[in-house]
């Protein structure tokens, strides 16, 4: 071994202070808390949608928010794991969840352009997109802090999952307050915030994840 490397090792070893090893459960708890706080703020500010507490909700409400919740959870699980790199790790789960959720805007577009009873798409519904994005901020920030502490070796993918996960959970949080149950509204405006957040994560946030 060369002298420079020996000297470096001696210097680094002398600086060996105790560190707390990364713990996935701590990361998941942090993000879970962020989501819970977001939900409380949303319900406090906007009020719970009618029928939420009594379970009187439409099938579309359950399907859309259920799929977005699964997408959000799978992305968060992947992001939390990506903070601790490992050759052999597989982060493909969220891709399948994204493909699954990708059916929603298609259904929304079909409904919006068709003559069915669910074919109502109002431009005013765009406020749900903005609210969904706003509701994704806290979860996104928690994931960002977690990844900055970690060592993600695929920053672009980590950024994409961060955005999609935060966007999906933000959309779900907002969904608890939204009273529009049409698939056109849910499939387009509630998913649009997820797509935008994912793009911001992939092309904006990812550059800050490099180390």
């Amino acid at each position: 071994m060369d002298d420079a490397t020996q000297a470096l090792i001696a210097g680094i070893a002398a600086d060996a202070t105790p560190v707390r090893p990364i713990n996935r459960m701590r990361g998941l708890a942090m993000v879970g808390l962020a989501f819970l706080l977001t939900e409380i703020v949303v319900l406090f500010a906007l009020g719970a949608r009618q029928g939420l507490m009594s379970g009187q909700v439409s099938v579309f409400f359950v399907v859309v928010n259920g799929l977005l919740l699964i997408l959000g959870l799978s992305c968060i699980a992947a992001v939390v794991t990506m903070a601790s790199p490992q050759v052999g790790a597989n982060h493909d789960g969220p891709k399948w969840a994204m493909a699954m959720a990708g059916v929603l805007p298609l259904a929304g577009l079909l409904a919006a352009t068709g003559a069915g009873v669910n074919g109502h798409l109002h431009v005013q519904g765009a406020h749900c997109m903005y609210l969904g994005l706003a509701a994704s901020l806290l979860v996104g920030a928690a994931l960002f802090v977690w990844l900055r502490r970690g060592a993600p070796v695929s920053p672009r993918l980590a950024g994409l999952y961060l955005g999609a996960g935060a966007g999906a959970l933000g959309s779900v949080a907002n969904g608890m307050a939204c009273s529009d149950e049409s698939i056109a509204h849910l499939g387009i405006w509630h998913v649009a915030s997820v797509v935008i957040a994912a793009l911001i994560g992939r092309y904006g946030v990812s550059r800050w994840l490099r180390w």
């Binding site: 560190v19 090893p21 996935r24």
Partner: protein, 176 residues
């Protein structure tokens, strides 16, 4: 000879608790392992710098090692990440001689080591991209020289280097 998986994981756990002696031993063993890991895919004069960069990254990110998981795949992920950064950096080597292939120690961990090797990562590239990166980024030829050697046009060499590095960056954690 470098430390086995169990020993290195134990040393790393001790290092995370602040044991300086264990940390020094771990870093020495890691440095030896990294030299072997990089030797076929890195120009000779860059090898020392690259090993040191990885050691500094290991130090900065030592908290990201999960004690419940194996050590070498963690180290290999960091090594690959730094190696790709290294390839991205513009440089041209004067000496193109690479280290000879030194056979590794045969032990029970050989299969694991093979799975996390740079060769395995490199093998996932299309041959044209691998050749372009090998010639330009590792052996240090100019784009024009690489073009003559591999029979690709100069613009194709550039495209293949760019696409190859992008793909490598996306598959750092892939084991096969």
């Amino acid at each position: 000879m470098t430390g086995d998986e169990e020993t290195m994981a134990r040393l790393m756990r001790a290092a995370q608790r602040g044991d300086r002696q264990a940390y020094a031993v771990l870093l020495e063993q890691a440095a030896k392992w990294l030299r072997r890991y990089f030797q076929k895919r890195t120009a000779r004069e860059k090898l020392g710098d690259l090993v040191q960069e990885v050691l500094m990254a290991v130090h900065a990110k030592r908290a990201t090692y999960d004690p419940s998981r194996p050590f070498y795949p963690w180290l290999a992920a960091i090594a690959r990440y730094r190696w790709i950064d290294h390839l991205r950096a513009e440089y041209r080597v004067q000496e193109q001689e690479l280290f000879d292939d030194i056979p590794g120690d045969e032990n029970a961990e050989e299969v694991v080591m093979a799975r996390i090797s740079l060769d395995r990562l490199f093998a996932q590239l299309p041959p044209a991209q691998a050749a372009a990166i090998e010639l330009v980024k590792i052996e240090g030829y100019s784009v024009a020289e690489a073009s003559q050697r591999c029979g690709q046009s100069q613009s194709l060499v550039k495209v293949n280097v760019h696409r190859g590095l992008k793909k490598l960056a996306a598959i750092i954690e892939k084991a096969s």
